[in-house]
Symmetry: C2
Subunit: 352 residues, 2 copies
């Protein structure tokens, strides 16, 4: 009998989510056994099929159902025949917001066997702390005079003192357990009104962390600096939109976004946190056994860490790093198509 | 006596603007002579010194003074002791807006002798068409409850049918003279209200250009794709903020942002257009003879092109490409410090 039990909601979702979630779960169950705890999994078949059948991505009481679990293990949503606004606002965004998952944590590291795409990229080891519930992704906005030559659309970005404070506080505390450097992504040269506010609040928070060095960099220069000095970053704190862009960018520089994980955290644990890969449902490669499971698996490791199972989490990371070192890899990171069936292991090089 | 005369307002501005503008003008004057036209230059000593003396970046009637010229040749503004909001809204942004320079054109190419920073980057040849007067850079925004725990800041992004139409139209027409591909930078997955509108207007415009292929890519995926397939892009059309980020990113991938030029165009020529490098005033290296003049010079070539002096423009580009091929380069692109004075030419390698 396992001594510790964790209740997990599993939502594989759409596209390659249906492939990488089961693959990742196999490994998670194995380490759970080895570390003497149990994952009480409950599967939810929500997503685009549910939408096609019921006109909703999840049941009306979906959020309440999820609220009972310790964590949510999520694949991806999105299908070519359904507008993104339905798939995302119907499932992904409500989880982030209703559960106040205000930190989106996105580590990016150069992994063994995955060549970096950029000069000097071999030692990338950074974490993006993305504010995850406000900023440029506010629900306020709409259209004027639609269908006329005077048509226009507006979007309100909203940054609160509380929202920026807690993101910066999380980043500073994280930096204290790492290389003690925080880079704040900004655009505060007087053009965008919210960004000088962002800077002030970040600076206020950093005063409480005198051991951490703060550097603020304009988002355009920061994108360039990630290319020119990718190994120089430790913790990057960024708004919702800037964090979104920087995490795909950093992932690509390190070699692949297929391996990048993402933890949507409610740090106070008042609500379940949610763990997903950075990649999406990738309908173009779905069903062909081509999807890279590492992003999902790494997200699983972050989930185990969040549940207090650090040793098991470390073992998961060591396992996929070992595979990569041994040349077991999907095509996105240089693996070759399998010889016989899609269940054959991917292997880099001659495959012999 | 020259047969053609062009009236140019010259604003070197701050920091390295004071170095690269005179350097670039030397070359422009030379080609003017060779191609039998004259540049009637008028220098304006506006910028941070003017601000320190008069509390303004330019005189009250500055815009009217500039309006009399055919084009504006601009260096950079920004000084450590003056808030960016003053330097930018006091000079750079009024030029863009008052002269309705709604297209910001930013070519990015791998240049001879400048190694790309990214795998596959040797054949980068793209142009970013950035919407330059609306979008995320609107003047609407501000703060609530400042100084309290309930403080917040808001910023309104505003996209008009006219604004998006003319940017997309410019991009499509440009693509017709190039490789006939337009990539539209978006974030239309239902999160940001303005972006589905952007998509619709872009699609509407592209219907009038059936020979041009349109691909829309979410900004996060686009940042990654620029890294993973940098040579696959032709024309990228982007909003004010996305274009800002993408141009620094693409410049860095191609090897340096020191060489990147930028044309702020009023295509109808109702008002003067303005030509500047993508880089800023770089106070950290100002006055040391380290600044790369190529960004400014290339901006000068774009100005000559805009003035109808295509042959002269081509010669300027051929000239700096020739220098680069010969190994004459500043430190940002691998050159070594000069031996004797900062007037010595930069040379890559042993310098012998
Ligand atoms: C799907 C989309 C709404 C989402 C985002 O922008 O947050 C995704 O890009 C991500 O990074 O998780
Ligand atoms: C200085 C700043 C306002 C400007 C911008 O963001 O437009 C600059 O980054 C640029 O790209 O020209």
């Amino acid at each position: 009998m396992s001594s510790r039990r964790h209740s997990i909601a599993v939502i594989a979702g759409d596209g390659i989510g249906q492939e990488v979630v089961p693959a990742a779960l196999q490994t998670l169950r194995l380490v759970a056994e080895r570390h003497d705890f149990a994952l009480d999994e409950r599967e939810y078949d929500w997503g685009s099929d549910h939408y096609r059948a019921h006109g909703r991505m999840m049941p009306v009481d979906g959020i309440e159902q999820l609220a009972r679990h310790d964590a949510i293990f999520f694949g991806a949503v999105g299908a070519p025949d359904i507008p993104d606004v339905e798939t995302l606002w119907g499932l992904l965004i409500p989880m982030r917001r209703e559960f106040d998952q205000y930190i989106n944590l996105r580590p990016v590291r150069t992994l063994p066997g995955i060549p970096a795409r950029v000069v000097g990229g071999d030692d990338i080891d950074l974490v993006i702390v993305r504010e995850n519930v406000e900023g440029e992704y506010s629900s306020v906005g709409g259209r004027l005079y639609p269908g006329t030559p005077y048509a226009a659309a507006v979007q309100e970005a909203f940054f609160s003192h509380r929202g920026v404070t807690r993101a910066a506080e999380y980043a500073a505390t994280l930096a204290e357990s790492r290389r003690r450097r925080v880079t704040s992504a900004t655009k505060s040269n007087g053009i965008i009104h919210t960004m000088p506010f962002w800077d002030e609040v970040v600076a206020e928070v950093m005063q409480r962390h005198p051991d951490v060095t703060l550097e603020k960099v304009l988002i355009d220069a920061l994108a360039a600096k990630l290319v020119l000095a990718p190994a120089s970053f430790d913790v990057i704190v960024a708004s919702n939109l800037f964090g979104d862009i920087l995490s795909d960018l950093a992932g690509a520089l390190a070699g692949s976004i297929g391996v990048a994980p993402s933890a949507n955290l409610n740090p106070e644990r008042r609500h379940p946190s949610m763990f997903e890969p950075v990649h999406g449902s990738a309908p173009d490669i779905a069903g062909q056994g081509l999807a890279d499971p590492i992003g999902q698996l790494w997200a699983g490791a972050m989930m185990l860490e969040h549940l207090g199972e650090q040793a098991a989490a470390d073992e998961v990371v060591a396992a996929f790093e070992g595979c990569l070192r041994d040349g077991i890899a999907t095509p996105d990171i240089g693996g070759r198509p399998p010889r016989r069936s899609s269940r054959t292991r991917w292997r880099r090089g001659s495959g012999s």
